[in-house]
Amino acid sequence: MPVTAESLFGFIGRRTVSFLKNLHDAALLINNTFYWTFLSPFKGKPIRVRASISEMVKTGYNSVPIVAVISFFVGIILALQAAYQLRKVGALIYVANLVGVSITRELGPILTAIIVAGRSGSAFAAEIGSMKAAEEVDALVSMGINPVRFLVAPKLIALMIMLPALTIFSDFIGILGGLLLSKAALDINPYNYFQQTVNSLLIKDVMTGLVKAWAFGVVITVVGAYQGFKVEGGAEEVGRRTTASVVASIFLVIVFDLFFTTLFYYFT
């Protein structure tokens, strides 16, 4: 019995210690990331503009097709589901309100974030992880180049800009999907639908969506980078960390979504 108890406490202790260590590492990474992205440019260590642009192309521009297709389909699905209920009360035109509000406030940001987490969050973890495994990160440090500044800051800048941009794009395409469905299946005049959408949307609906998108960009970058830097061994661990980064960033995106939605519900 004492042996079991001892190993149980030992187990809890080891878990706690390693959890606290991970938490400390994550906090350190967040701190460094923000320092090298926002503060160091004012201290004569400029951000890497060219790398940031190339990251923007990879994370943003290249996700345009998939974001477009998914948003379009989700717009159609939403319109159909809304019509299913609203038809009963003869208020079909309110499909526009429902689609507009749920896309801009919720689905635009979250769909975009999940797509980007799957595409770019995993790519960040894999890139940094394989560099870690091949001693490239060590080589950067030994040349006096901070790996967070060199690798993470351009990614953070790219996602902070591209995720809100993709979200706006996703909002438009989603609403367009709803509009086309309403025209084709519900016989709503597109102009009326457009008017109804514009009237129902508030600036704040779009803005809260963009604030969320910005936060999701930070979450995805930090999680991808964290998992990448955690790689110690070889290729097998890179694969494991990449998977973990996607799961963790989608989970955290939902957690942050819950947080912001609650916040906006009470304070806007």
């Binding site: 490239e136 080589a139 040349m143 006096g144």
Partner: protein, 261 residues
């Protein structure tokens, strides 16, 4: 002889496993020091401590008289600008061309114009016999070519210290001899302090001024090359005469050992 680097009582661990058990030695300025030792005895680990990638459990490392084990990252980066390092696996950045790899430290630490950087890069690649490969990516090179590109990158800023981890492993004898010549030239002409980890006996006798031999986490020998030649320590003789490890098990014992009881 003035010491550029002084290590005292360096103890290092990976996890619970002790790798270096309190070693002390000095590396003279403007000379080539070769670090020897069996595979897995901790040579690369030692090098990583000298360049500050790993922090020792205890002990001090003085570089130019300043203790690097207590330095902040910023202070150490100033020291690192005077160092060039070739990793055992070359560790070139795979996402960049050779030219960009070599130019990276120059771009990061100087404000030189782009044309000047291009010229410097071409000179360094020329020095290691890689001119014409500027626009190749590391994945398009052979192992030996990567090594040489790594050397070019290490020399990019004409550093005061050069650390080479097995520079000639994987090179043909002719290229390896060329590399030895380059190391001698760097020492004679540029007065660089060079630390080389190598197993090539021929190369040791060509380039070394001083030798440090590690064994089982301790310093077996530290001193000038002639001292090593004259030493009659059995482990050193074994190394120099390329003798295999003596059989420590009789066949029956060995069988019991691998059968696990």
């Amino acid at each position: 002889m003035e010491k550029a680097i002084e290590v005292t009582d360096l103890v290092t661990h990976y996890g619970d496993r002790v790798i270096l058990k309190g070693i002390s030695f000095g590396i003279p300025r403007g000379k080539t020091t070769v670090i020897l030792g069996g595979s897995g005895c901790g040579k690369s680990t030692l090098l990583k401590h000298l360049i500050g990638l790993l922090k020792p459990t205890s002990g001090n490392i003085l570089i130019n008289g300043k203790d690097t084990t207590v330095m902040s990252e910023d202070e150490f980066n100033e020291v690192r600008k005077k160092m060039g390092i070739l990793f055992q696996g070359a560790a070139l950045l795979n996402s960049m061309t050779l030219a960009d790899n070599v130019a990276l430290p120059i771009r990061e630490h100087t404000k030189l114009e782009e044309p000047t950087i291009q010229i410097m890069v071409r000179m360094k690649l020329d020095l290691v016999g890689l001119s014409g490969f500027e626009n190749f990516y590391p994945s398009q090179l052979s192992g030996g070519m990567k090594k040489r590109a790594g050397i070019a990158r290490a020399m990019a800023l004409d550093p005061e210290f050069l650390f080479f981890d097995e520079p000639s492993a994987g090179l043909d004898p002719v290229t390896a001899a060329g590399l030895d010549e380059l190391i001698i030239k760097l020492r004679n002409v540029f007065k660089m302090t060079i630390v080389v980890v190598t197993h090539e006996l021929a190369s040791i006798f060509t380039i070394a001024d001083c030798v440090i031999m590690l064994d089982l986490g301790e310093v077996l020998f530290a001193g000038p090359l002639d001292g090593l030649r004259a030493s009659d320590h059995p482990r050193i003789r074994m190394f120099l005469e390329r003798k295999p490890e003596e059989e420590t098990y009789s066949p029956a014992d060995y069988f019991r050992f691998i059968a696990g009881n």
